[in-house]
């Protein structure tokens, strides 16, 4: 782990009051992040996305977020004003979402969306913003940036849309990037291209990355460290390279239950969920 801590999370909790009682989505998550790639893995309902959203400040208004500590670069995220928080979002902390079909504005051209992000956070002229947006599109390996700049999200493929979103998120030069299932909606071959681009840009710019995914194997091949979540809690934290020596039966079960090419197992081992994992 690098010495300068970018993000410090201690005992993060996210609760949703509902008619049928309190739903505890995140129950005391703690980790710290330097300028490294951290993976958060878990199944649906494990609270991994809500953890990311709480850091970003995108938790729905009816939810209660609390933490002993939620510090970004020395700033307490829970006590600063919404205005200060808004200034951080998109500028110093950025987020990539799962599906470009739903998370890009359908009635605004891709170029305009990128320019909008930039001009929200920096005072630049229109011409300069356009230049930088084009450069950014080129950085995410879009071959003909000038053409793509004027296209609308429905006119591009999933892989291209996701690259555009990465460009949009990187243009303000964030220090922390949260990627919530950035490649789950893409084809396997495109997936690797997008991950390659993300990897290169993150390491070139020395950003911290939180990579949220349900795919333990993908995360372990991409990240430096992995946090495994189950039922709103962290069950295990380990180096990605040491994943094979995972201790927790849940982590082991998750690794084990996926079919692998060249390893014949019939039937596949299934997870035997123990109530004490959630305790």
């Amino acid at each position: 782990m690098s010495s300068d801590t970018l993000l410090d999370v201690d005992d993060l909790r996210v609760n949703f009051p509902t008619r049928t009682g309190l739903v505890q989505a995140v129950r005391g998550v703690s980790f710290s992040l330097g300028r490294e790639r951290l993976g958060i893995v878990g199944e649906s309902g494990s609270g991994k996305s809500q953890t990311g959203r709480a850091i970003m400040g995108l938790t729905p208004p009816q939810a209660e977020v609390s933490a002993k500590k939620l510090c970004f670069d020395g700033m307490d995220l829970l006590s600063i004003s919404p205005r200060e928080r808004r200034a951080l979002r998109g500028n110093r902390i950025a987020m990539i979402l799962q599906d470009p079909k739903y998370s890009l504005d359908p009635v605004m051209s891709i170029g305009r969306q990128i320019v909008e992000t930039l001009r929200t956070h920096e005072k630049v002229s229109k011409a300069e913003a356009r230049e930088r947006a084009l450069a950014m599109l080129e950085a995410v390996q879009i071959r003909d940036p000038k053409r793509v700049f004027d296209l609308y999200p429905h006119e591009v493929s999933g892989g291209m849309g996701q690259r555009a979103m990465i460009a949009m998120m990187l243009i303000a030069g964030p220090e922390l990037m949260i990627a919530d299932e950035p490649t789950s909606a893409l084809d396997v071959t495109v997936q690797l291209d997008v991950l390659g681009i993300l990897d290169k840009l993150v390491s070139e710019r020395g950003m911290g990355l939180i990579f949220i995914s349900h795919d333990l194997r993908l995360v372990s091949s991409f990240c430096d460290r992995v946090v495994v979540m189950y039922a709103g809690k962290v069950v295990e934290q380990l180096k990605a390279s040491e994943l094979r020596d995972a201790q927790h039966p849940y982590t082991r079960g998750l690794l084990d239950c996926m079919p692998r090419i060249g390893f014949e197992r019939h039937p596949l081992p299934v997870l035997d969920r123990k109530p004490e994992w959630a305790a």
């Binding site: 495109v190 079960g253 019939h266």
Partner: protein, 248 residues
């Protein structure tokens, strides 16, 4: 080997777009056959063309020795059933599991519905406790089990599976794949399964076809794929992609 499904030079055209460009395929009785490819490769279209859900422009489809015409009769649907990708979208939101399972029985005029529903639910590991629930009261894995029960209740000989586990968590996926293998063994079913995941296809199927842009890239056996004995670059790319991210 008699062919359960034989597809000959099949063309599917939507308006002017050729989704399938002359694809041929033969699946033996009791065999499990996989279709792999990325989105837009035509793998789902092929399944939908067999069930009559996609417009066939030319070519022939033969199922259990019978050549299919423009429409499918009831007897066809007793032999061939399909399980769809999204268990959230393929179950009627306002019908109980019981009602869902009664529908195919009513259409085909079965009178022993009671017994069949109980047996079908048992077979997919749900038990009769789930019989009067609605789809929204079930988890994704349970819904997919209901969808499988609905397909099995008519005792078909061929099951078409369109990405049956891609909407599920990895651990639930393992359970559903095990269930599918078990019912295939018990009922000697023929599977034609679509997936974008090579690992799932090699786990479930003996032979497979790789598709791209509505065309066949190559046909392989699972062991050829496992041994990396593939000839097309595209398949090699897919294989590499399935091994995860490699930093360069």
């Amino acid at each position: 080997m008699t062919a359960a499904i034989a597809v000959e030079k099949l063309e599917v055209v939507f308006d002017r777009f050729r989704a399938l460009k002359g694809v041929s395929l033969e699946v033996g009785e009791g065999e499990s056959y996989g279709l792999v490819g990325e989105s837009g490769s035509g793998k789902s279209t092929l399944l939908r063309a067999i069930t009559g859900l996609a417009p066939v422009a030319s070519g022939t489809i033969t199922v259990n020795g019978k050549k299919l015409g423009g429409t499918r009769d009831k007897a066809f649907y007793r032999e061939v059933q399909m399980v769809f990708q999204d268990p959230y979208g393929s179950l009627h939101p306002r019908q109980t599991v019981d009602r869902l399972l009664q529908e195919p029985l009513a259409i085909h005029g079965f009178t022993d519905g009671e017994k069949r529903i109980e047996r079908a639910l048992d077979e997919v590991g749900l038990g009769t406790g789930f019989r009067f629930r609605y789809a929204h009261q079930l988890s994704g894995g349970q819904r997919q089990r209901v969808a499988i029960a609905r397909a099995l209740i008519l005792e078909p000989s061929i099951l078409l599976l369109d990405e049956p586990t891609s909407a599920l968590d990895a651990s639930v996926q393992a359970e559903v794949l095990n269930l599918l293998e078990e019912v295939r063994r018990r009922r000697k079913l023929t599977f034609l399964m679509v997936s974008h995941d090579l690992a799932i296809i090699t786990h479930m199927c003996e032979r497979l076809m790789v598709m791209q842009n509505g065309e066949t890239v190559e046909k392989l056996t699972a062991s050829q794929l496992i041994g990396h004995r593939v000839s097309a670059d595209y398949t090699r790319n897919l294989l590499r992609a399935s091994e995860g991210f490699v930093r360069v």
